[in-house]
């Protein structure tokens, strides 16, 4: 299991980050994709912007963006209508063979 996956399993969302280039390296990697230097694993701020969404029955899923650059697909728990661009909280992340991200609107 990778560091990224281990942290997810503990409900911690980390991304690889290059301190020399001062940027996230996403999707996660052991090396920076600009300078090929080593990365550190930095927790990602747990608020995200809603980019796009759809649903499958009652299950709403979509693309969300963290810190202006890290996009993931996750499940969105909501009882009300969503708006593109609205902010969501990452309420849960996990790893069970697949990365899992669960979000909910900030109320």
């Amino acid at each position: 299991m990778t560091r990224f996956e281990q942290e997810l399993k503990n409900n911690v969302f980390v991304s690889s980050f290059c301190t020399r280039c001062d940027k996230h390296v996403w999707p996660p990697s052991d090396m920076c994709n600009s300078c090929f230097g080593n990365v550190i694993w930095r927790p990602v701020t747990r608020t995200a912007k809603l980019i796009e969404f759809s649903s499958k029955g009652d299950e709403v899923f979509g693309i969300v963006e963290f810190e202006g650059s890290i996009r993931v697909m996750g499940r969105i728990m909501t009882a009300s209508a969503l708006q593109i661009g609205q902010m969501l909280n990452l309420t849960e992340c996990n790893f069970d063979g697949k990365a899992k991200f669960v979000l909910a609107p900030i109320v």
């Binding site: 759809s54 499958k56 693309i63 996009r71 993931v72 593109i84 697949k98 990365a99």
Partner: protein, 369 residues
Amino acid sequence: MRRVGIASSGLAEFSKTDSTLESLMLSSVKPLFDSTKNLSQEDIDVVLTSTNSDSKYLSNVVSELSGISPKVSHSVESLCNSGTNGIVSAYSYIASGLADVALVIGAEKSDSPGLVLEWDVSRGQYKHPIYWASMFASAHMRKFGTTMEDIAYVSAQNHNNATDNPFAYFKKTFSLDEIMQSKNLTDNLRLLDCSMPCDGAASILLASEDVIKKFTDKPVWISGIGQKSLSAGFTKNDDLACMKSNVQSSHRAYDMAKRTPDDIDVAELHDAFGICEIIELEDLGFTKPGLGSSYVSNLYETSDKKINPRGGLIGCGHPLGATGIAQTIEIFQQLQGTTKKRQVDGAKTGLVHNMSAAATSSTVLILES
């Protein structure tokens, strides 16, 4: 650079079979040999295989099974785009002078490991292709007002076209109503909007302008090639109402061929899902952004076979490694004027568009008679 042309082709029916991948490949190589004048195994300098299967040393295995001892032999894997990537590689060997004749063989089994890109953790738990397709559909609907009915036209038309293609997986038409009523996989994607994995194989023979006349009196030239790889992870595609790799690869192909979208008489587009064809028509310049929906309904209303006369991936099935080659064969045959009921009258210039993994990469070929 030397000109490179397509000399001949071979197809195996897309279906579900008990055949091995190697057997499937051979079943498309045989009709290619049967239909090519003066071709013997000794003529072939390069054998490339395109597939997402886990088979090892496949191009050498299939070369041996075909009695070919090529100078260059290897596999090309690039998910759905493998076949067209294989053709571009073969083109490069010939154009550079390293080879004169190349055989590209693509095949897939329906349970291919290439159906899902496991690496892409940014897709989270939504790794199946229906989820990225659903995101594009949401974005296009939001930006342009595209409807579920608009999307249904793609499937209806491509299934109609496929009924004139003896190699297609689907043999029947579906009404707009049947498509609209088919099972919802997500709230904007129905079962009949999807291409289906199946078994299939396709082979194509490329040759240099110096030798191609030995094999055919009607070569079709590859006059433009554009490829673009944006990323592998889906979520780097920023505007989801368009597919940026399509725009960039098609510009390169048009520039190389000194052609514009208006010059294209017939095209095969990668309709992995109905919404893809609508977006691609816009990306490739066949119509303006936002008008892809009216373009596809018009194709259907007027029984116009200009786009996906073969039946597309939706009508033909989608054996990944074979798809790009089968698409190219359709345009090759259209430009030779041999596609019978599918024929677009007077087609002289054609286009092939193929892509992988949520349009993170794409390939466009322009062919001319």
